[in-house]
């Protein structure tokens, strides 16, 4: 009940006082610790994921995490371990499966879609078997920042450190392999092994992000900051740093907004991340238009598609 009364305290309007107020309760301090750890790992791995155009793999891994979390709750252990077990297992599974070439593209979609839905249905079964937990399903699907224990923060931190060290080790060849797989392969970079390693790291990041945003909204921390940063700058080091910064700001703002309002954190984090993404698109479009007007209409480049549409 302490949590319930602390869920939406009034804003005083004094920024310093409001920020201090955020850290009064230990559960909020833990939420910020966890959010910070998750935002850094999800940002770094998400950046590579967007570069490698694997955003739906990340989404699938997170969806598979949902029955894991529900099953862990059913067994009476922390949902966090369920996320990790299922997300990483799913990553290994996807990596080991032979890519179904030759068959129709749309049949592959039907299979992927059906299996993803089946995992969601399994999560629902576990929740139904665990009586009196129907409320908890919303926090598994749409995120929650309440009740993160010290131990969970430590687990999140250890996994994040492992993930970041691994990324530091494989970062350069992975970047090479992501940008031009064929050339990298010719140069002797183990492209396939790197892909498998990255998928497993992605499973870890998806599990961590699920802890904050829930299984269904991991796009907010895995994809949107990276997509925003890559829209703003194309230089790898800058956009990677920018991704982490955007992820951190979005998470912190989301936590603060969720603390001071009755609305769920998943909504706030997706909204802030999406706002940043839309702004970067608008700014990019405006910049292009400005440059175009400064240079004038580019000569010698007839629009080939203009006549085709008609």
């Amino acid at each position: 009940m302490v949590l319930a009364s602390a869920a939406s305290p009034p804003l005083t309007g004094n920024l310093v006082e409001d920020v201090r107020q955020l850290f009064v309760y230990p559960f909020m301090v833990n939420a910020f610790r966890a959010g910070t750890i998750v935002a850094v790992l999800a940002g770094v791995i998400g950046w590579f994921m967007v570069l490698r155009k694997q955003s739906f793999a990340g989404h699938t891994l997170a969806v598979v995490g949902f029955p894991g979390a529900a099953g862990a709750t059913l067994l009476g252990i922390s949902a966090l371990y369920g996320y990790f077990a299922f997300c990483v297992a799913a990553a290994v599974g996807i990596a080991l499966l032979p890519s179904a070439r030759g068959r129709g593209f749309s049949e592959e979609n039907a299979i992927t879609g059906t299996i993803g839905v089946f995992f969601l249905a399994c999560g629902f079964l576990f929740i139904s078997l665990y009586k009196g937990f129907l409320e908890g399903v919303n926090s598994l699907l749409f995120g929650s920042f309440l009740g993160i224990t010290n131990q969970q923060v430590v687990v999140l931190a250890v996994v994040a450190v492992v993930g970041l060290v691994a990324m530091a080790l494989i970062g350069r060849p992975l970047l090479f392999a992501s940008i031009d797989g064929d050339v990298a392969q010719a140069r002797g970079v183990p492209v396939r092994a790197l892909g498998v390693a990255f998928l497993i790291l992605l499973g870890m990041a998806a599990a961590e992000a699920s802890q904050i945003t829930g299984s269904l909204l991991v796009f907010a921390l895995l994809v949107m900051p990276a997509a925003t940063a890559q829209r703003i700058t194309t230089r790898p080091a800058y956009s990677l740093t920018l991704t982490v910064v955007i992820g951190l700001v979005v998470t912190w703002l989301g936590l603060a907004a969720a603390y001071y309002s009755p609305y769920p954190i998943g909504f706030w984090v997706t909204s802030f991340a999406f706002a940043a993404y839309v702004l970067s698109h608008l700014a990019g479009a405006a910049l292009v238009r400005q440059r175009a007007s400064m240079v004038g209409p580019s000569p010698g480049r007839p629009d080939l598609r203009a006549g085709v549409d008609r």
Binding site: A110, L125, L217, V223, A227, S271
Partner: protein
């Protein structure tokens, strides 16, 4: 074997006397038939993930309606049919970027979570399980009038698809030839996505927003695998969906701790995977047969 069968029969006794089961069967049968038929075309047109996108929209639409105090189904249908038609207008420009699509629909889902909180905290009639019911369906909770309305709309969907079936099939298999022959390809694609929207709203009432993709994709995928003949595959997809719906409902009635939407999806996934394995094995055997080896050698 016989004792188990008897036990199952005993467990299912009186199934058809229960009003909630009658409603579920009426609505479920019609919704499944419509979903199988629409799903056949979704798989054929490589638009399976349209249904995925619509599932996010269905959740948010239904919860928005509840938050504003109107009938859930109104929000559901307006949102799914509206977004379906909107996607129809985008169609010719090709597939949008995965990142853009994913981000937009993740945000839509976040908005749904907001409406859910507004509904559960402000509406005095609000109950905490509304979100779960929309996400995972509550086919046993349908009232008689809701069931018959859902059945009537499903029949309407089947009729519309049957009317446009021939040109839709033609334009799905070869857009350019169909357009050259004077088939209104764009109009048909537009109408079809509207129908997909309505079907998504229907399936939400049966298995929930998060699981509707399975009801659309699994029977249709199996039917595509089993036969290449369009009309047979259409009927088969519908029949499979209806059979899976019945099996799921009976399973859930027999073992009440299993929710119906899980049972339906489990049967549908099992059938689809079974069909995949069987056709794969049969395909391999055919390749090993002397005739096939002879033909391969001649090539």
């Amino acid at each position: 074997m016989i004792p188990t069968l008897l036990a199952i029969q005993g467990g299912l006794a009186g199934m058809f006397d229960q009003p909630f089961m009658q409603n579920a069967l009426v609505a479920g049968t019609c919704i499944a038939a419509a979903s199988g038929l629409v799903g056949y075309f979704l798989v054929l047109r490589s638009q399976v993930f349209t249904a995925d996108a619509l599932s996010h929209v269905a959740f948010t639409g239904a919860l928005a309606a509840l938050a504003f105090g109107v009938d859930l189904r109104l929000g559901l249908f307006v949102a799914t049919v509206g977004v379906g038609l909107f996607m129809g207008t985008l169609e010719p420009r090709g597939r949008a970027d995965d990142v853009v699509v994913g981000s937009v629909f993740a945000w839509v889902l976040g908005l749904g979570a907001l409406f859910l909180t507004i509904y559960t905290t402000t509406r005095s009639t609000g109950n905490g399980t509304a979100g779960v019911n929309v996400l995972f369906g509550s086919i046993f909770g349908l009232s008689r009038s809701q069931a018959w309305t859902a059945a009537a709309v499903a029949v309407g969907i089947v009729v519309v698809v049957c009317i446009v079936a021939r040109p839709l099939l033609f334009s799905s298999i070869d857009v350019d030839v169909a357009a050259a022959r004077g088939v209104p390809v764009r109009l048909i694609g537009f109408v079809f996505l509207g129908v997909v929207g309505a079907c998504a709203a229907e399936a939400t009432q049966a298995v929930g927003a998060l699981l509707l993709l399975g009801l659309l994709a699994a029977p249709a995928g199996a039917a595509h695998r089993l036969t290449g003949r369009p009309v047979v595959a259409m009927v088969l997809a519908s029949a499979l969906a209806v059979g899976e719906m019945w099996a799921g409902l009976a399973l859930s009635y027999w073992a009440p701790s299993i929710p119906p939407s899980f049972a339906i999806l489990a049967v549908a996934t099992g059938v689809f995977l079974g069909v995949l394995v069987v056709t794969q094995v049969r395909g391999r055997e055919k390749a090993k047969s002397p005739v096939a080896q002879f033909e391969a050698a001649r090539r």
